[in-house]
Symmetry: C2
Subunit: 292 residues, 2 copies
């Protein structure tokens, strides 16, 4: 039994199962939600509900945020009712959203000025990983703070890596997202070459899974393409947002990522065509010419 009460802000597809895994591990929870309906599932559990991030932070020792984009996290952390206005010394903010490394560093600095700690800890593994407590967690921040948070992370994930300083977790996540998107695109090109040559792409997938071309994406997303079933998984519109984060970082760092740029364009086309709620394997629909 831990003495920590953990605040959670963001009870969506990912945040909700993560909260239940913390309850299962006997943590006391504090919740804040913009939409009260998000709290229904917790009615019969021993949780405290707060009216603002500031109030929540006042009554918790750790706050986990799991929301959509950089502005959401900024509002929760430093907005007018933000965590920063309620947090005591040594409060720890763990942002598990996928946001900009640069914004992360700015927020960590603002919190640090008030003696509040922060970690960026974006995840990979999707809803199923969150439910199973098997997320990959990529962490940025100070080592001693990472050590303090580790028991919490261990309730949520399996592959938990302290990547580096503030923002390094978000950088790793950006790397993850550009690699995943490009592998999806490469698998789709391979299947297109097979189909256009009159060869069954499912046989090609079988042949390739044994060798150097094998990947989690060929296995999982390749199957989605063959089945023409793009139920997410991970939504194209979120992957699109993540590509924008990665390419903004590239611009800030004065590097060029032509492969990532190409695939980001595909994701934008997927979203523009109205398929943003499909899995990001729907990049294949662009490559196969199924979306004009």
């Amino acid at each position: 039994m831990s003495p920590d009460r953990i605040g959670i802000i963001g009870l969506g597809i990912m945040g909700k199962p993560m909260a239940f895994n913390l309850l299962k591990a006997n943590y006391k929870l504090g919740l804040y939600a913009r939409r009260y309906s998000s709290l229904h599932s917790f009615e019969s559990h021993d949780v405290e509900i707060f009216k603002s991030p500031a109030e929540l932070a006042q009554h918790c020792t750790i706050t986990i945020t799991m929301v959509e984009d950089s502005p959401d996290v900024a509002e929760i952390v430093i907005g007018s009712n933000g965590i920063i206005h309620g947090a005591n010394r040594k409060h720890l903010v763990i942002d598990m959203s996928t946001i900009s490394p640069e914004v992360t560093r700015q927020l960590a600095q603002r919190l640090s000025d008030q003696n509040v700690d922060m970690l960026d800890a974006p995840v990979s593994g999707g809803e199923q990983g969150a439910i199973d407590g098997k997320l990959s967690i990529m962490v940025g921040g100070n080592a001693n703070v990472f050590d303090r948070a580790l028991p919490v992370f261990q309730c949520l994930g399996k592959n938990i890596i302290h990547v580096g300083a503030h923002g390094a977790g978000q950088v790793a996540k950006a790397c993850n997202q550009i690699l995943v998107a490009q592998t999806i695109s490469a698998v789709a090109e391979a299947f297109l070459l097979a189909k256009s040559s009159g060869v069954d792409p499912s046989k090609v997938r079988d042949a390739l899974l044994g060798g150097f071309a094998s990947s989690k994406i060929l296995e999982v997303h390749g199957k989605r393409m063959l089945d023409d079933n793009y139920q997410p998984g991970f939504k194209a519109k979120l992957h699109n947002k993540d590509m924008r984060i990665a390419l903004s970082s590239a611009v800030e760092n004065k590097i060029s990522l032509p492969g990532a740029k190409l695939v980001a364009r595909y994701l934008q086309e997927v979203v523009a065509s109205g398929d943003g709620d499909l899995d990001s394997a729907a990049i294949a629909k662009i490559i196969f010419g199924e979306v004009k």
Copy 2:
């Protein structure tokens, strides 16, 4: 003990260990080599040496070819001293080189006109896979001919897939090569983003190997990039040749593969810079800006 004597043409990095695996399985071998020096390793073994592909084909029931490019295979099969001039009815030519699907289909047709069978059976797995008898083998041709060749393939590889008709093995190999090349490029872009953000790419690799971004390439080629050690493996100049085959097929099939095209350009730059004998993971040197 099999009644077949198997002819082998092409005793290079791949062909030689494959020949020894067939000897180990008690097959009798017939060899032809353009350079006599290639035969030295076989001096103390029960092999017969022939003076031309035609003569070899006359005394063997199966001929395996494992050479570099489409013109080499065409010369061996239908050249003036080619297999076609010596092969008896029901002789089987198994081309395990990586060549053009279109040339493969033409050669299979020419052989078929003389009642000689052919399979295209390119491999993946590299020198180590050939030594260990653990190659992935992607086979094109008739099903009954595939069945006849299967015991031979089982001495050489593990993941043996009958992909489809003549040329389908080569199409699968082309798919393999464009997927591998693009994944190498995507891993290099991810590492560049990490480095330019001041984040250790080896930590990023650790974090990504657990999740959806994980692949054989991130594991093996990613390690080569981190170690700045590009000993092959599989040489960039051969990968460059294979990309040309794949992109020619794309043109013939009237499809566009922008990702493959981008990476083919990198491979050409690697070769042009004099690094063609390095592993194709040296694509990273272009992406990291180490080659101008």
